[in-house]
Symmetry: C2
Subunit: 349 residues, 2 copies
Amino acid sequence: MKKVAVKVLEESGSQALQYSTTEGFEPLRKQIAKKINAKFKTNVDYSNILITSGSQQALDFSGKLFLDDDDVVLCESPTYLAAISAFRAYRAKFIEVPTDENGMLINELERILQQNKSVKLVYVIPDFQNPTGRTWSLERRQQFIEIINKYDVPVIEDNPYGELRFEGEMLPAIKSLDKKGLVIFVSTFSKTFCPGLRIGWIAADAKFIEKYVLIKQGADLHTSSISQREISKYMELYDFDSDIEKIITVYRRRRDTIVDAMEKYFPSDIKFTRPQGGLFTWVELPINMKAKELLNRCLKQNVAFVPGDSFFPNKVIENTFRLNYSNMSEEKIHEGIKRISKIINEGQQ
Amino acid sequence: MKKVAVKVLEESGSQALQYSTTEGFEPLRKQIAKKINAKFKTNVDYSNILITSGSQQALDFSGKLFLDDDDVVLCESPTYLAAISAFRAYRAKFIEVPTDENGMLINELERILQQNKSVKLVYVIPDFQNPTGRTWSLERRQQFIEIINKYDVPVIEDNPYGELRFEGEMLPAIKSLDKKGLVIFVSTFSKTFCPGLRIGWIAADAKFIEKYVLIKQGADLHTSSISQREISKYMELYDFDSDIEKIITVYRRRRDTIVDAMEKYFPSDIKFTRPQGGLFTWVELPINMKAKELLNRCLKQNVAFVPGDSFFPNKVIENTFRLNYSNMSEEKIHEGIKRISKIINEGQQ
C-alpha cells in the first residue's frame, strides 16, 4: 500500500487531492464493472457504477431513494443488522420473508407481495448471508427474479462476501438474471481489501444510477479521490485475485475449525450452518435457551458472539446467535467453541 | 503529502486500513478542537467533534436529524446552493431572511420566528459567505444568538472559509457566543487543505453529537481512516497555519485584482462586494439585466460565472451572479472582468 500511495501522489497528486466527479474515478469504475461481470456474470458498463463510501452508504442512499414513512421493505428473516438501521432511518417498516437454506421461500414472497401494496423495496444477501452464512441456490435465484418481474419492485442485492467462496462454483448474481433493470447490486472492497478506505459501489441501470448520483451529490459530493485512486492503482499493479485467494485460504481453515469444534463440542440439539464462504456461521439453540443469557455467561470467560435477536426486524427470536470466525486464530476459535459448549452444558444440568 | 502517506502506513498501516470508530480518529478530533477554539474562540472538547466526509455530509446529516416534510429552514438570502439541495432532499421548505452587509436583519429574523412555528433549523454562513463573500459583524452575531436563545431553535453555523481571512481580525464564531448549546458548528479541510480527502467536521453539544453519530453509523460507518490519519499526521509534522498564510497571500492578491478590475471596467450602476476573505464576490446588475443571458454571451468569450438565481431558494432574482476569484491567475482574472465589462457595455448600447 505504501508503494501504491506514493505512486498515486507522484503520478496524479494534484487530481487525487482535488474535488472529483460524484460518480467516482472512471478507471476504478471500469475495473469494478469488469470484475463483477467476470465473477458474477453481470453485464454492466462502467457508466452503471457509482462509487460510494462503503456499501453502508449504498444502503443509506437506497433508503433515501425508495423509502418514505411506513413504506415496506421485504427482507430475509433474519437479515443484516445495519441494513435494518439504514432503512429504519427513513421510517420504513419491514416484513420478514421466511427463508430456508436455499434462500427466501418463493411462495411466501409472492403471498406477501400480493397482500401488500406498499412494498417499495426487497433487500436480499444471496451469497454467504450476514448473519446466517447461507447462500441462495441458482434455482431459487431464478424463481425469485420471476416473481420480482411480475410485481415490478426494486431489489437491493447486497453482496459484500460473494468473492470469498471457499468451495464450489461461484453462482451468478441475481443481477445477472435481471432483464427489467430492477436489481441494484451493491458491494464493497471492505471484505476483500481494506475497510478503512471506505470504498463500495452500486451497480444499477442508468435510471437508478442517475438518481443515486444526485443523492450522493447532496450527501457528500464524492468519495475520497485518494482512496479511490489507491485501490485502482493497487488493482492495476498487483494481482487482486491472488490476494483474495490468500484471504480465502485463511478463512476456509477458520471455517473448518469452527465447524469441526461445534460438531465435536456442541450438544446434538444445537444447530448451526456450514457456510461455503464469507465470515459467519449461525447457531440455533434449543427454543428455551436465551442467547443473551448465554452471552453474559460467556463474556465472563472472554468469549463473545452477537445474539441473533437484533437481526430480526420484527420477530422476537431469542435462541440464535451469530459467530464470526474470520478474525481469530484457529487456536482461539477452537478454545472459544470449547468454552461456549462448556457453559451451555453447565446451564443444561 | 507523499511523506505523510508513507509515514501513516509505516507507523499505523494496519489500523489505517481497518474499520475505525464512527466519531473519527481521536488525535484529529483533538487537533480540530484546539484549532477552532484558538481561531474562533469556541470552547469545545474533542468529544464534541464528529468527523464527516466533507462538510456536505454534515449538512446532509443535519437535514436528516432536524427536518421532515414541510418543516421550515431559515436561511440568509441568498445562501449556499448545496445546502439548499441537502435540506430539500428532506422535503423541507425555506424562508429567506433578508440580509444586509452585516448579516441577517435581526428584526426580520424575529418577525419570521414569531410567525412560523414550524421553523426547525436556522442555517447561516457568517464568514465570507457563499455566494456573497459577506461577513457578519460581531454585533449582529450577538443580536442573532439572543434571538436564537429566545426562540430555542437549532442553528447550523457553516464555516468553510473563516480561516481564509485576508485582513482585519478574526471574529468569534456564533458558536462561541452560544450558551444554550443550540449552535452546531460545521467546517472542513476542503478549502484550507485538500478537498479530495473529503474530511469535514461537526462541533456541537453532546446531545446533538450523539444523534449525529448514530446517523453517521447508518450512513457510512465512518470516514476514511487513512484520510483522517493523513491530515492528522500532516498537522503534526508541518505548520498548517503557515500553509494557510500562503493560500491567503495568493487569494488576497486575486481578490485585489478582481475588485480593482471591477472598479475600473464595470459601469457604475453595477454593485459588487469586496470580501475580506474567502473565495467569492457577488455582483448585482441593474434590475432589468439578466445574469443568465449575460452568461450565455460571456461563455462565447470563454468567461464563466454562476448566475445568482439558484442561491435563492424561493425568490426569483435574475440580476445577480457569483464570481470565484480563487482558482484563476491574476492575469486571467483581469482579462475575464474586462471581457464581462465589454459584453455588458455592448448589451447596454
